[in-house]
Amino acid sequence: MTLGVVVLVHTAFDRAEQAVRLWADAGCPVVIHVDRRVDAPTCQAFVKALSDLPDVKFVPRFRCEWGTWGLVAAAQAGATLLLDSYPAVRHVYLASGACLPLRPVAELCRYLEAHPGTDFIESATTADVSWTVGGLDMDRFLLRFPFSWRKQRRLFDRYVKLQQFLGVKRTIPAGITPHLGSQWWCLTRQTLVAILSDPQRPEYDRYFRRVWIPDESYFQTLARKHAHRIESRSLTVSKFDFQGKPHIFYDDHFELLARSGCFVVRKVWPQADLLYRSFPRSSGADRLPNTTTIDRVFDQALVRRTRGRHGLFMQSRFPVMDRENGFTATPYSVLQGFDAIIPDFQNWLRKHTGAEVHGHLFARERAHFSTGEAVFRGGLADHPKLRDYNPQMFLTNLIWGGREHDQCFLFGPQDAQDICWMLAKDTNARIMVVTGAWALALFRSGATAADCRTQAAHLQQVEQAFVQILRSPIARAYIRIVSLSDFVRAPCDMLQATVDEIAGHRASDVQVAPPMMDLEGFAGFLQDLKNQGMPPFLTGEFSVGPMPETPPFGKRKQYVRSDK
């Protein structure tokens, strides 16, 4: 056999033994390194358990803490012993005790024989990788790291900061360019001998001893110096999470692994009996490894852990509201004033946009859902106290639950106003306001100006406060505000803009404005309010007497054209 294996073991010795036997039974000589931190009886038992295998050797033990030089030293010692003892070995595979061959070792050997002189080692320059943890990419080669990242994190961080502050930098030895990559490689004898017997090796070793995580850079860097043909990928599938810790494979990954056609996987949960029982299994002698599906599954996990599902507030995702860019899952629309001008506005809008149009969700008496029922999607209740107890979350729940729908709701100064700031700051909100429309509702109610003077003043105050919020510099919603008088002069313009905004290209053309409230006598009503000492400035100007001559429902003439 021309493949030799170096196995680094520090835990789960029964599984490590199983893995070593798999390699050895296929005829590969195996050199094992046991972590110095493992207690003597455990180690001896392990050595004894493997004593029946002739081509299994052990090397002196180094302390192998995560990210320290010991791991490199162990690999060096293992490779040296392997190459010296077995002259027939042409490729050396570095594996761990938690590695499991997925395909018969013979298939791996055939693959290597088909690629003579090729080194399989993931190796990329620091500028071109995105997966370094903690932002230390080039710095790991330029600073000193005498403290343990795991056990002395505070010292570690401070010492890094200090060096960065002082601007001290180490010189990288001549002749090498720092490269990074997976610590599990498969190198040719030629390359490995060149690395191990490099005349500059003492200098390199001294340098890498103080590099951070040298096991991911020592061989990766030196292979670049010596190798003739590098295939920059690892033959071992191993995925890392956002903290740089390896993902673990379980029984339910069986299909995923079986279909990948990969040769070796790391790392397998020691109690994944199914995996240890089923692998290695042949997946066709000439099948090439393909990790696309595996990559996708674990990349999704990374996205979920770092970015999560937008607009979802739940027990393990609670973004600080002001910090997240948009609090809700999808865009939705808030319509203020329209329903006072256009009777049956809800149905009209539903017909023109196909959207789910709620009534006044934040009405004082209850939440008016689009279905008119007391409970809505997700189990949201219409009870005003329950809603006002946490109106923000009432809204995020509503939008999250109906994230496959376009949702709109009516709003107005008579509703509970606690939600205003959230609406204004939410990038998903589209807020269309016709100011002063409440005056029309008061007028239609038949009350005299004297009767509703106080109420009008209150509504105007509330609406003015909302408008000010919408005009604040931190408002990030899509906002459109027109006064009632501007609206009635050209209602189709505003309605078309609204419908377009909600339904996009699916919107229908608003040729004819829907029937609107009769404005006969409204101007007089406003004048009466003024006479009572309450000028309704939000409505815009309505002059007493007949309505102006311009056709009320036509389109305005365009003075500025962009399509000539």
Binding site: D241, F242, R304, R305, F313, R317, R323, R377, L386
Partner: protein, 336 residues
């Protein structure tokens, strides 16, 4: 946070531990098999009172999940529930007739046992009507979860309580001993949970679900808390503050991401609303030994003549954990 506030948290934790130490005298060992506990065993801690009907399925469920040893406190049961478990080889049982309410709803007793036997173990603290669901729980035992949490250097695992209820009046769905309660009560509210952050303890205070919707809509502040942290790599210095809702030191309460990501979380399916509940609500309301002197139980027994129908058109029928994950009630987070 200033030094005084930090110190007050420390003081609170120590007082809770002292309480637990004092309350240990109320416990009498019935079957002490704790000598069997091996260093990396996963333990379950539980207090119960007259739960003979629920216990067989409860034990069965958690045994299948991979719990190695059950540490239980029998609070004066008279229905033979204790006899059901004493004989079982993986159970250690204590008995007390002291008042549940005086022992912080049983938490003092459990905290003493947690400190004594749960130190450096993964410990699951649940009620008899709570069933833990976590990502991949149908294919990976709880040992896999514990190992993964260890490898990720996470010490606590959050699982919100999810109230399960039957379709129709509760009395119409009788529950029999040994039966899967979620064969009877298999509906839940998918998306009406509200939460705020408790700045002092740093936990999330979650309310909502069918109980807030039906019983507490007019006084939402009183709606029961649903946030729970039941699975913890216990240390004898830790203290549960209010049931398993909060824990000190407060860093353990950060089972949620405050940025945009999702941490891994599970759910405690709550089999409270099954038939055996009606009598229970009346008994407990009279006994007044529960939180806020049984106020919750009084509401349950008043609502709809004591036989509420929690089901609504928007209720979801339970399928499996993946469904709950898609709905956004729990998350796989980084575990894949």
């Amino acid at each position: 946070m200033n030094v005084f506030a930090l110190y007050s948290l420390r003081l609170q934790r120590q007082l809770l531990r002292a309480r637990a130490l004092r309350k240990r005298h109320e416990l009498t060992a019935v079957a002490d098999r704790t000598a069997q506990i091996r260093p990396d065993d996963i333990l379950l801690f539980c207090t119960f009172r007259n739960e003979a009907i629920r216990l067989p399925y409860f034990m069965d469920y958690y045994r299948k999940l991979g719990i190695n040893h059950f540490v239980m406190v029998d609070n004066g049961s008279t229905d033979g529930g204790a006899d059901l478990v004493t004989g079982q080889s993986d159970v250690s049982l204590w008995r007390t007739d002291a008042r549940y309410g005086d022992a912080r709803y049983g938490m003092d007793w459990l905290m003493w046992l947690l400190g004594r036997y749960g130190h450096r173990h993964w410990a699951l603290t649940v009620d008899v009507d709570e069933f833990l669901i976590y990502p991949f729980c149908d294919t990976r035992p709880i040992r896999a979860l514990a190992d993964w949490l260890d490898a990720s250097e996470v010490r606590s695992f959050g699982a919100m309580q999810l109230d399960m209820y039957p379709k129709g009046a509760i009395s119409q769905s009788p529950y029999f001993m040994g039966q899967d309660p979620f064969a009877v009560a298999n509906w839940f509210d998918p998306g009406n949970y509200i939460m705020t952050r408790n700045d002092r303890m740093r936990n999330l205070w979650i309310q909502g679900g069918p109980r807030a919707r039906v019983f507490f809509a007019d006084q939402p502040r009183l709606a029961p808390a649903l946030n729970k942290i039941p699975f913890v790599k216990w240390h004898r210095k830790y203290a549960y503050v209010s049931s398993t809702h909060m824990i000190l030191p407060r860093g353990l309460n950060l089972v949620y991401d405050q940025g945009q990501g999702e941490k891994t979380s599970g759910l405690l399916l709550h089999a409270k609303f099954i038939n055996l509940f009606q009598d229970r609500a009346r008994q407990e309301a009279a006994r007044g030994q529960h939180y806020r002197a049984g106020e919750q139980y009084r509401r349950y027994s008043d609502e709809q003549g004591g036989d509420p129908d929690l089901w609504c058109k928007w209720s979801e029928q339970y399928i499996n954990w993946r469904q709950l994950e898609v709905l956004g009630l729990m998350s796989k987070g980084n575990w894949a």
